[in-house]
């Protein structure tokens, strides 16, 4: 037990990094995903096609590869090439990747809304943006909570990939101690930390689902 307390400090520090990467990525990826979904279902064929290709690229290559590319290869790309420090590079990778997944969740949600809702709004004089904002998206939010919960929890765990940029997140901190002390206890403690984080998210999403359960449909 003393040992667990002794290794707490570095693990908590690592958890801080993990949480930062998670929260910033989540907060940025969700709106980007929504924008991508709206473009994807829009009647602008070219833009929609571009988003489709983007989603294919982001889902079709490993997240770790994307992260390595943004950190190591992006500086050498003409025009858009910038050298990002490790933390922003990781955020950019997570945001670009998760936005693709979120976009598909939003798209599925939006397309699950009955055409009658659009017609009902339209005959009342609502414009398309008004219909989306006031009628469609609030209903979408309820429907996509389960898949969003899935992706969000996956994001927490995926943050451990930042070890490839030599960032000290929770898992890398734990591994450092394991290698130093020749004991696997830090792994168990790290697992507990992850479980607590995902439990909080699970409860949060369950709370939202209950809140939206006041209406059916």
């Amino acid at each position: 037990m003393d040992y667990v307390i002794e290794i707490m400090a570095p693990l908590i520090e690592g958890t801080g990094v993990t949480l930062q990467v998670f929260l910033i990525s989540f907060v940025l990826a969700v709106p980007l995903g929504l924008v991508l979904a709206l473009v994807r279902i829009s009647r602008f064929v070219v833009l929609s096609g571009l988003v489709n290709g983007y989603i294919w690229l982001m889902r079709g290559t490993p997240l770790m590869l994307q992260m390595l590319f943004i950190y190591f290869a992006l500086p050498f790309v003409p025009v858009i090439g910038v050298r990002l420090p490790d933390f922003p590079a990781a955020i950019v990778a997570f945001v670009l990747n998760y936005a693709a997944y979120f976009a598909e969740i939003f798209r599925a949600g939006i397309q699950s809304i009955d055409r009658g809702q659009y017609e009902g709004a339209r005959v009342l004089g609502l414009s398309y943006p008004q219909t989306m904002r006031r009628i469609v998206l609030p209903q979408v939010l309820k429907r996509i909570l389960p898949p969003m919960s899935n992706e969000t929890i996956t994001l927490v765990k995926d943050t451990s990939l930042i070890y490839v940029l030599a960032m000290n997140d929770l898992l890398r901190a734990a591994r450092g101690i394991v290698q130093r002390d020749f004991t696997t206890t830090p792994f168990v403690v790290a697992a507990a930390f992850y479980l607590v984080m995902t439990l909080v998210l699970t409860l949060g999403f369950q709370h939202l689902e209950r809140k939206y359960a006041v209406y059916d449909g």
């Binding site: 809702q117 005959v123 609502l126 009628i135 209903q139 209406y215 449909g217």
Partner: protein
Amino acid sequence: MPSTMASPMIHARDVHKRFAAVEVLKGVSLAVGKGEVVAVIGPSGSGKSTFLRCLNHLETINRGSIDIEGETLVATGADGVCRYSPDADIRRICRKMGMVFQHFNLFPHLTVLQNIIEAPITVKGLRRDEILPKAETLLRKVGLLDKQASYPSRLSGGQKQRVAIARALAMEPDIMLFDEPTSALDPELTGEVLRTIRELAEEHMTMLVVTHEMAFAREVASRVVFMDGGEILEARSAKELFAAPEHPRTRAFLENML
């Protein structure tokens, strides 16, 4: 029968509508005067719902013209090209018409009251307290004031449809379009909805009602239009059409229905 045909509320001429290769409307013309209640009857697939949906631009027509209160929604020139008015005009013109759907299309995430005040606030820019008295009057009128805080899923079909009618009326339309308002209802619930529509008729609301309720058409409609195969085969006063249908297909249809 109103004699305002000089300036009809709805004036549709030679409306053609195709879905892919299927011609659903083959030149439908109809004028509806102020305060008139026109029932549109006919077999399934006759194009009556499609015609109604063309009037407020839920469907786009391929040929013909539609004027609403003297304003052009769509017109076909001598060159045979069908041209719609600019989008802003379309929206303004279509706001003169309220519509009630077969499947209600209430907003499930909003309460009854919120359903009613949504468009006045969002579209007309009214404040909540400006529209609340009107919303309450409408809810009282359709007999659902006590349900204002309920979500639509808690209502019966008949109650849902009455909310939908109140919701449309909250935008103060000059014309009401009803697309089979009782077809999705259990038989014992149609009465309450028809009663509400009848009350509107008594207030001289201009209405176009696509319906399978022959008794309702006979009692409430000033004129009945019989459609079949994408055409209007007969359009006469309710009394005449039901007593002595001229067209053999009208006769066959009515015999089947009654």
